[in-house]
């Protein structure tokens, strides 16, 4: 069964695939591309599933204005592997290798919006790994955080925590 879902999903693409199947759910990305998915996939996305439940399953086309057609296939791919019980370290490593820091951010927000706990957990670890050796300035830029310390406050704090500032990568290797 799991294999079946998996092979179907591999052939998944834009709206024209199998439009008549009543069992499938149509997910519409923010840029109006339709993705047909099995109901089992929708179940992984709590936000989508609760929408379906609320309408007693009558509505099967679900707009996801916050998610782009660039990100949605990644989300679907992850859900598909998750259902098949095939989330391995190797899969996860391959999965994130393709993504730059900006894309990881977007997927993270998508996972949060769709309420996919496993993907959210996984991506938060990915982001944590990617910022671990970065400078404080990089982290502020990455998260869009304004520095609200006075220069004196910051200097004092940095002095207190000086021993934590070893092993920081130089900022110029940012990939964005």
């Amino acid at each position: 069964m799991a294999e079946e879902v998996s092979s179907q999903m591999n052939s998944l693409s834009i709206s024209e695939t199998n439009p008549s199947s009543s069992a499938t759910i149509s997910l519409v990305s923010g840029d109006d591309i339709v993705f047909k998915v099995e109901p089992t996939i929708a179940k992984e996305m709590e936000t989508v599933q609760s929408f379906i439940d609320e309408t007693d399953g009558k509505i099967t086309t679900i707009p996801l204005p916050n998610i782009s057609s660039h990100d949605l296939p990644y989300v679907i791919e992850y859900c598909e592997k998750s259902i098949a019980g095939k989330i391995t370290k190797e899969f996860e490593a391959e999965f994130v290798k393709k993504l730059n820091n900006e894309e990881v951010k977007e997927l993270f927000l998508a996972a949060n919006y769709l309420n996919i706990k496993k993907l959210l957990d996984f991506l938060s670890q990915v982001i944590a790994d990617r910022i671990a050796n970065k400078s404080v300035e990089y982290v502020r830029r990455y998260f869009g955080i304004e520095n609200d310390f006075t220069p004196e406050e910051e200097a004092k704090l940095r002095e207190e925590l000086a021993w934590t500032f070893t092993g920081v990568d130089p900022d110029d290797e940012d990939e964005n």
Partner: protein
Amino acid sequence: MHISDEDDVSWILTPDLITEILSWLPVKILGRFRCVCKYWKLLIFEPTFAKLHHQRSPKHTHTLLTLFGVVNDSETWVVAPHSVRRLLEHPSSPIKEEECWRFKDETYYAIGCVNGLVCLIDYESQEDGKRKICIRFWNPTLRLRSQKSPILYETPSDLCVHLGFGYDDSGDIYKVVTVFWDHTEEKWEVRVHCMGDNCWRKILTYPDCSTLLGTLVGSFLNGSVNWLALTNLNCPDYELEDVIMDQLVIFSFDLRNETYEFMSLPDGFGEKPPDEPALDVLRDCLCLSYDHMKTHFVLWEMREFGVHESWTKIVNVSYVQLHFFDLMSEWLLFPVSLSGDLLLLAIKETCDGVILCNPIDGKVQHIELPNCKIMYAEEHMQSLVLPRPLPH
């Protein structure tokens, strides 16, 4: 391909999501990220954040060693956390001054470490021959030390004070419990100090005909502090050779309810060992280890806390197999860590090294730790738990 880059503002994360990401980072990096903004500075030291971070952190990665070694070119007693992996891969790395707690004159020792927080006893000898006892808390990963606790007791210097350190999950409270024999009342007395409080509460006294064994420090597991004890005695003084096996039990003090109970030792624990057995916590199980007939090192694990039937003998290895021939009158081997099938043993005080053995396939490896005589070892991890009260 992206929806738009119209506003980066969409990437301003809610506190929940920030917490989600930061909770996966190691302690040292979180220390650095306290400089990002005021919100992060506070968040990272919040008790609820520390708790989430603790749940997500790898456990048993470190061991806290009390040892006699060289720090900054001088020989000294210290308590120092060691990464177990690093200890095995780079045994000769020096101990850094800023990462250890140096004893001034053997007046400190570690009572235990729980959730990355270390509790140390501080004896202050006085001119009249009495000692003042108080406690300090230390998070070695954060390099933060608490102030001294209130004085527990002024005691004659020969009085045995048993101490244990643990955590009451229900109230999120770190507690130090002490058990001692009150000569005037002829009773055992139990007192408890909650970290951050300004007192020691007298919890109970009991005239039970039991006594704790010589090891002063209790082992914390599953909400209770545990010591080896003897029951059915006529007086608190005993000679191990006069004791019969059935008298040997575990005294278990429940930190939440502040009550105690006795638990029995494994049935197969037949011969009485010539020296006191040791009680430790390894990979979240209570472990009993001892010398058997001066020929074998034996280790039992209580797989399910409080369930007598779950005692399992997991190590029974001969000294010949361990290439350990330095047996003196006193029994000297004690466990440092147990992970997978690998048991790490140290030789008390006498030897600059540890023994790594695999009880399943019998492989044994001696690892030299130059200038490092180990006295005690306890499993440890890195955490954000703050010692209290912090000095200002």
